[in-house]
């Protein structure tokens, strides 16, 4: 009973949430409309299109207790059928181009694609490799970019906050 009373009397002691980041300049109205349609809740499906796993570790950190992207309304789900947001990492290898396209087709509308890491944006150190088909934008339309090799968890959280608008 004491414990319950304590919980009630103390209340929340977390820092106030930082102001939500703006979507930024150069973003077309269509993306803004899709972000509004998500209404602050983004179900995220991660697709490793051929990365070195560095970005995956940072994504894992972004959802860890330290960075905790879930408090901003982003949540990792297990199937693109449940997802609004695709978090794509790595250069797109020949084997993963088809599955990436299928994943994009399987996600429900409206959907947002976030390319995470340098490789996803321009191929990074793997650009021009024999097994590399291209960058993510060559395969599916990309809405947001998170540069870095690998990007910091804070940057990934920042991108996800743009999507959730919180």
């Amino acid at each position: 009973m004491n414990l319950l009373r304590k919980i009630r009397s103390v209340g929340r002691v977390a820092e106030p949430a930082p102001a939500p980041p703006a979507l930024g300049p150069g973003v077309d109205g269509d993306l803004a409309a899709r972000v509004r349609a998500l209404r602050g809740s983004a179900q995220v499906r991660c697709v490793d299109a051929g990365s070195c796993n560095g970005c995956e570790i940072e994504i894992g950190q972004a959802f860890s207790p330290v960075y905790d992207a879930e408090r901003y309304g982003a949540r990792v789900v297990a199937s693109p059928r449940h997802a609004d947001v695709l978090l794509v990492t790595g250069p797109v290898t020949r084997n993963m181009a088809g599955p990436l396209r299928d994943t994009y087709a399987a996600a429900s509308d409206p959907k947002i694609v976030v390319a995470v890491g340098d490789c996803a944006i321009d191929g990074g150190v793997f650009a021009g490799g024999y097994g590399v088909q291209g960058v993510v934008a060559d395969v599916v339309p990309v809405d947001l970019h998170v540069p870095g090799c690998p990007p910091e968890p804070a940057a990934i959280v920042e991108a996800l906050r743009k999507v959730t608008g919180r």
């Binding site: 199937s79 693109p80 059928r81 088809g98 599955p99 990436l100 299928d102 994943t103 087709a105 399987a106 509308d109």
Partner: protein, 676 residues
């Protein structure tokens, strides 16, 4: 004129005409003519049974028909249950047969429109009507043998198809005749003790017969009638013979013929012998529980669709025997209301089982007709090509799984209720056995769900696993009509089981459970419609589905979009990724490993260059019938050894044979002299 007599007369006339048509009509119209006439036979039998259930009693003695004894016929409400069930099954199966036999020349089967099958069909159907109407020992035995022989010939009618059919025929022939022998000995013993062979006379004389004779008679007829009803361990013929018969004949055997084993047991045990001792019925209860669990366990790991259904018959007949056994125990312990309820549950389950098993076997026949295979592993994807058959099979499977909304639910529920209320009965054995029986019913109901989800899910849903299943097609309209009739019965039992309550009350009273208890139970059964209304459950469930659809429409935003099936990005889904019947049953098989004792064989062949490079992996699995393995193999071996040993006695010398004859006459005279 008595409506029962009229029905039986019409049935006999239709049967005779059908036999004549099968022999004389040209091949073009033979199947249709025989089918229609046999359907009339079934309808007349059903009407006669219905009239008997409505309270009309019929007795007749035709002295010219059989030498010495004559034919005694009597139809009361108890016979009426089995008469109407048999007639109804004959009706549905005959309508189905019009389509089935005309077309079964496909897929490598021998044609079903030949004279032999077409003559046997009405004969078998008529014997099913005759057995419950028999009212003397000799009439019953003649009708019983007619039924056994005609069904045996139907089982082996497709003997050219495979050696399995012939083996099934041998098993069936031997076991049904051993059963006949035990029934014969038992009933003749009873008749000689009662000094009359009519059932009415035996029932009157039974209280004066010594308990030892009555016990002996009961054990003998239990063995005979029990083997016909597929009671473990005398069930071995059933899962062999039922799958190999042409499908309409399988339906007749599995839904109508096996019931007559129960009829015989109830008629002789409860009616003629008047109940007897408690141990009789505890034995029936125990064997019934064993059959229920063992049967459905084997069904849940069976891959052959018709074999699965045959094992499910073993299960359901086991449940019926549990009800009969419980009725006997309750009667002996002085609880007539409970006894009447338990027997009513057993009789109701007889009816519902007949309805859904007819539907399932006819559905299996349509699958066999469309694909040429019964192996569930080779089917799949039939829903798209045989939507009507799939829907009807699903209705039957729902009934067999004993879920609310299915035909089997009301009767199993009533059975469970009567057993649970029976826990007030005193006695150590009863107190131990009744909860075991309740557990057996619950376990078999659970396993039945698994077995029929497997049958429907792996057989009809998902994608086709073989080209045969891919090119399946709906059966001709006559077959669909036959299945439709059975489905109608299923829906009736599932939705308004209360309608048969008063009829069951009369049948229970006719089974020797009369008196105030039966009246009270009949009142309870009449109220079955108001105390148990699955109609509400089904209606509620349907309403919920409709509401959900409407709600989804209202909540959904944006237009609908078609997208390819999500395959985890690993390429298109293929039938190889599906659950097969084997893989679906694998966890169950693992759980019941100790009971089923499956035999699996993994054979890995390595390349000669290296033991680590695998060239070929062969896996095979078989779930042999363990009872058969453990019990029948030693017995058959012993009989064979005895036969080989006794061959030494017959060395071909005429002198020796004359000596045997002389010696036996001397011994007989000595025995008679000593007995004087």
């Amino acid at each position: 004129m008595n409506p029962v007599a009229l029905g039986l007369a019409v049935a006999s006339a239709a049967g005779a005409l059908a036999v004549a048509a099968a022999l004389l009509a040209p091949a073009r119209v033979r199947v249709a003519l025989v089918g229609v006439l046999t359907a009339v036979l079934g309808a007349a039998g059903m009407a006669a049974g219905g009239a008997a259930l409505a309270g009309h009693i019929f007795t007749a003695h035709v002295s010219q028909l059989l030498p010495l004894a004559g034919v005694y016929l009597a139809v009361d409400a108890l016979s009426g249950v089995f008469l109407s069930v048999g007639g109804a099954v004959v009706l549905a199966a005959s309508v189905y047969g019009i389509g089935y036999f005309r077309h079964s020349g496909h897929n490598g089967h021998s044609g079903g429109n030949g004279r032999a099958i077409q003559v046997l069909w009405p004969v078998f159907a008529f014997s099913l009507v005759l057995v419950p109407a028999a009212a003397s020992v000799s009439t019953l035995l003649v009708a019983w043998e007619l039924m056994a022989v005609s069904s045996l010939l139907l089982v082996v009618s497709e003997h050219r198809r495979s050696a399995q059919v012939r083996s099934a025929g041998v098993w069936y022939a031997v076991m049904t005749h051993l059963g006949l022998v035990t029934i014969l000995i038992g009933l003749v013993w009873l008749a000689s003790a009662a000094r009359t062979e009519t059932f009415a006379g035996i029932a009157a004389a039974a209280p004066g017969i010594s308990p030892v004779v009555r016990g002996g008679v009961f054990v003998l007829v239990l063995a005979g009638f029990g083997s016909k009803a597929g009671m473990v361990p005398l069930h071995a013929w059933l899962p062999r013979a039922h799958p190999e018969a042409p499908s309409p004949a399988s339906a007749l055997m599995s839904a109508a013929m096996v019931n007559l084993g129960v009829y015989g047991l109830v008629r002789v045990g409860l009616d003629l012998l008047g109940g007897g001792s408690r141990w009789w019925w505890l034995l029936v209860l125990l064997l019934g529980s064993l059959s229920a669990v063992y049967g459905i366990l084997q069904a849940s790991v069976a891959n052959d669709l018709k074999r699965l259904l045959a094992y499910s018959t073993v299960e359901n007949l086991g449940l019926i025997l549990v009800g009969v056994g419980a009725a006997g125990v309750f009667k002996d312990s002085g609880f007539p209301v409970l006894a009447a309820l338990a027997l009513a549950a057993a009789l109701l389950h007889t009816m519902t089982h007949a309805a859904f098993k007819t539907l399932l076997f006819l559905g299996a026949g349509s699958v066999l007709h469309a694909t040429g295979t019964r192996d569930l592993d080779d089917l799949g994807g039939l829903r798209a090509r045989m939507p009507v058959t799939t829907g009807l099979f699903a209705l039957g499977a729902l009934g067999a799984a004993a879920l609310p909304g299915g035909a089997g639910f009301p009767s199993e529920w009533l059975l469970l209720q009567s057993l649970i209320h029976g826990l007030v009965v005193p006695g150590v054995t009863v107190v131990v056995l009744l909860p075991v029986a309740v557990g057996a019913i619950a376990l078999s109901a659970g396993l039945a769900v698994a077995a029929f989800v497997k049958a429907l899910g792996t057989g009809f849903l998902a994608k086709s696993r073989t080209p045969a299943a891919e090119h399946a097609h709906e059966p001709p309209p006559a077959m669909l009509a036959g299945m439709g009739l059975a489905a109608l019965a299923c829906a009736g039992f599932a939705l308004v089981p209360g309608l048969v309550g008063p009829l069951l009350g009369r049948a229970v009273a006719a089974a020797g459970l009369g008196g105030a208890g039966a009246d009270q139970a009949a009142g309870r059964l009449s109220a079955l419609g108001s105390t148990l209304s699955p109609l509400l459950v089904v209606g509620g469930a349907l309403l919920l589905v409709v509401l959900l659809r409407v709600l989804m429409r209202l909540v959904a935003r944006g237009p609908r979009r078609a997208a390819p099936l999500w395959d985890c990005g690993a390429g298109p889904l293929t039938p190889r990724m599906e659950y097969t019947a084997t893989s679906f049953a694998e966890p169950l098989q693992r759980v019941f490993d100790n009971v089923l004792a499956p035999e699996s064989d993994l054979d890995v062949t390595a390349y000669t260059e290296s033991a680590y490079l695998v060239e070929r992996v062969a896996y095979s699995r078989a779930v042999p019938d363990r009872v058969e393995h453990r019990l029948y193999t030693p017995v058959i071996g012993a009989v064979r050894r005895a036969g080989t040993a006794s061959r030494a006695l017959a060395n071909g010398s005429v002198h020796r044979y004359l000596g045997y004859g002389f010696a036996s006459v001397i011994v007989l005279l000595l025995v008679l002299a000593a007995a004087q």
